[in-house]
């Protein structure tokens, strides 16, 4: 019977592994689900907003360690809030300066935001240096929880999961249960009509974009607990993130969650049998194959065009 419990432990750990990948993917994709899924803006600099959050957390961590070491256990919550604000503020500025002029040219937005991402990467490199930095996570996030002798769940993984859950729920409530969310969805479906019924679409656009960037910032803050941060940390994930949103069906928050889950499980499961790079190739190719069969993604809202 020993092999059975061992097998169970491996399965549990493997499942948890998949869940962590899921959380990482979902955290990254949530901001983009708002910006790309809801607004239809292709923000290639989304990864850099993630990096902003990560660097903000790093700065908070260093400042705390330097000036108020006793504050160390609590700084992380403060850092998350600050990451949200900083990334959101930068997003607000970017929308004002660039995106708002390009709403009618989606393909050009893609190129312009790619340019923005290059500029932001180089800015990070100039300010923080090319070497990767890492924030000091609070002590209560270190180590792992032992459920049984064989099953060990790392605490930062649990924290990520909780944060993902909280963030997803908040965004869901905001989009589908608030007046603001109603305005956002109305603007997305028919900009002209929304303006006609008195919605300030410019303001809604700006707030939505800023919120999406802020969420990316929170994701970046959370990532500091599992890895270090470099100038190009965020940009490596940009294609995966876009695929998650497209695969789930843009405009559908539930689709984004489902596709993040599917992609994460496929990835971690195939990593069990194949090498890391081949697992990635397999996952991405199957996503593209399914997209070819079902271009509108897994879940889509029927809209008349």
């Amino acid at each position: 019977m020993e092999w059975l419990s061992e097998f169970g432990a491996i399965a549990a750990m493997q499942g948890f592994n998949g869940l962590s990948v899921f959380c990482v993917l979902l955290l990254m994709a949530l901001g983009l689900a708002i910006i790309f899924g809801q607004m239809g803006v292709i923000n290639m600099a989304h990864g850099e907003f993630l990096t902003i959050g990560a660097y903000t957390t790093y700065v908070c961590s260093s400042l705390t360690a330097h000036f108020a070491p006793s504050f160390q256990p609590y700084y992380f919550f403060f850092a998350i809030a600050l990451s949200f604000l900083v990334a959101g503020a930068v997003g607000w500025l970017v929308e004002w300066a660039m995106i708002s002029r390009l709403y009618k040219r989606p393909l050009d937005t893609l190129l312009a935001t790619w340019g923005l991402s290059l500029v932001m990467q180089q800015t990070f490199r100039s300010v923080f240096g090319a070497r990767e930095v890492s924030a000091e996570p609070p002590a209560w996030l270190m180590g792992s929880v032992n459920f049984t002798d064989a099953i060990e769940i790392p605490r930062n993984g649990l924290f990520m999961m909780g944060l993902t859950l909280l963030l997803t729920a908040t965004i869901f409530l905001m989009l589908y249960r608030s007046r603001w969310g109603l305005q956002v969805r109305a603007t997305v479906q028919n900009r002209l009509m929304s303006r006609a019924v008195g919605i300030n679409t410019r303001k809604v656009d700006r707030m939505t974009f800023a919120l999406g960037c802020g969420v990316a910032g929170v994701a970046g803050a959370a990532f500091t607990t599992i890895g270090s941060t470099g100038p190009t940390a965020g940009s490596q994930y940009i294609v995966d993130t876009f695929l998650v949103v497209v695969f789930g069906g843009a405009q559908s928050l539930f689709g984004t969650i489902a596709s993040a889950f599917l992609i994460a499980q496929t990835q971690s499961l195939s990593e069990f049998f194949l090498s890391g790079s081949m697992a990635k190739v397999l996952t991405l190719s199957s996503v593209i194959l399914i997209l070819m069969l079902r271009p509108q993604g897994l879940f889509s809202i029927k809209v008349r065009k």
Binding site: G40, I42, M98, R101, L102, K104, R105, P106, L107, D108, L110, L111, A112, W114, G115, L116, S117, L118, V119, M120, Q121, Q122, R125, S126, V239, F242, L243, V246, S275, S277, M278, K280, V281, L284, S285, V287, I288, L291, M292, L293, P295
Partner: protein, 386 residues
């Protein structure tokens, strides 16, 4: 004579082509040393991609972010042939398995993989350089355009394909040489590629091929197909309802762009002497789009200037001010897209031409005489774009 005129697109364009030809075929070879000329030759291979992008993005409205895939596949086909020639049993006799490329030997591969077998033949290689990328583009095109996958989604999917191919090449080290790529390419059918004279000849060959591509592009744009492409870009539904099969036109122009990129890739492998995944992935693919955007997405000749200028800038700045380069490149992206959507060619059409006329005649000539009809019509279409 009429056909020739159509091909060249009137007197204005003839002058444009002559100027470019003089610059590339006379001025560069006379003024630059062998090293710099080889570098310009390398830039010209990117111009192939940019010319293809003008066709499929500027006129067809299909923004492919995966042109590096076709550039890379074309380049890898050529590199595989050259590598096989470089690894004859004589020069690889110190390996545990002589006669196979060195990186395979390092990866404990003892037999030439079947994928490599046909690349012993030069005829097959030349065929494969064009055919494999075109086939790939055809498959991607048929899968996406027939299902009416929209423009933005198409860009994202092509970008993902670029990522997949890069990961695949890097991961399959024994088959592809991994991150380092295929290096140490020496001879082509016994002809030493590393000498200055060989590089000079290759430069002229790629310049000739580039002009061939420009002529093909011009021919396509002057034909009814060119009109249809523009119509599709601006009002796809209307073209579809007029009874045209929109998807097949899109597939065709995407395949043409892929073929151009592949020729560029093959010439790259010949001139630079290696091929690596760093020319396949997302970053190079999107950089190739900026070449076309800077030169002018609506101008075949502009794309060549764009590729030359941006690459020259890249070399110059990354040699002298590496810190500044990314700022400049990013700024260029943003500025071109936001303020000069028609790139250099657009600026030339709106300002340069008249300034030149003023300079030459000392008085502003009547506008209708100077400005050709086509670019004006094009800007009009671009403005009404939704």
């Amino acid at each position: 004579m009429k056909a020739l005129d159509k091909l060249l697109g009137g007197q204005q364009n003839l002058i444009g082509i002559m100027l470019l030809a003089v610059l590339i075929l006379v001025v560069f070879p006379l003024t630059l040393d062998a090293f710099r000329l080889n570098m310009v030759g390398k830039y010209l291979t990117y111009a192939f991609v940019a010319v293809g992008l003008v066709l499929c993005w500027g006129y067809g409205g299909i923004l492919s972010l995966g042109q590096g895939v076709f550039f890379g596949v074309g380049g890898y086909c050529m590199a595989m042939f050259l590598k096989l020639e470089a690894s004859d049993p004589q020069s690889t006799k110190i390996q545990s398995t002589p006669g196979i490329p060195d990186f395979m030997d390092w990866n404990q591969i003892t037999e030439l993989p079947w994928l490599w077998q046909p690349f012993h033949s030069f005829t097959f290689t030349v065929f494969a350089v064009i055919a494999v990328p075109v086939l790939l583009a055809f498959i991607i095109g048929i899968a996406l355009f027939k299902r009416r996958v929209g423009d933005v989604y198409f860009s994202i999917v092509t970008q993902a394909i670029a990522l997949i191919l890069t990961v695949l090449i890097v991961g399959q080290q024994g088959l592809t040489g991994g991150v380092n790529g295929i290096t140490d390419l020496k001879t082509l059918l016994g002809w030493d590629l590393r000498t200055d004279s060989a590089k000079m000849i290759l430069y002229f060959i790629s310049a000739g091929l580039l002009f061939g591509c420009i002529f093909i592009g011009r021919f396509i744009l002057a034909s009814k197909l060119g009109r249809l492409l523009m119509a599709m870009r601006d009002k796809e539904e209307r073209v579809r309802f007029s009874g045209y099969d929109v998807a097949s036109f899109k597939i065709f122009v995407f395949c043409v762009a892929a073929a151009f990129s592949a020729i560029g890739g093959a010439m790259f492998a010949l001139q630079v002497g290696f091929m690596s995944p760093s020319f396949v992935g997302i970053v190079p693919s999107i950089e190739m789009v900026i070449f076309a955007a800077v030169g002018g997405r609506m101008s075949l000749l502009g794309a060549v200037y764009g590729a030359l200028l941006v690459n020259y800038g890249k070399t110059y700045f990354s040699e002298s001010f590496p810190e500044l380069w990314l700022y400049l490149m990013g700024g260029l992206f943003i500025a071109v897209v936001m303020y000069f959507p028609n790139g250099l060619a657009g600026l030339w059409d709106s300002h340069g031409r008249q300034a030149l006329a003023k300079l030459l005649r000392r008085k502003p000539a009547p506008k209708a005489e100077i400005a050709p009809v086509t670019p004006k019509a094009e800007t009009k279409i671009l403005e009404t774009q939704p």
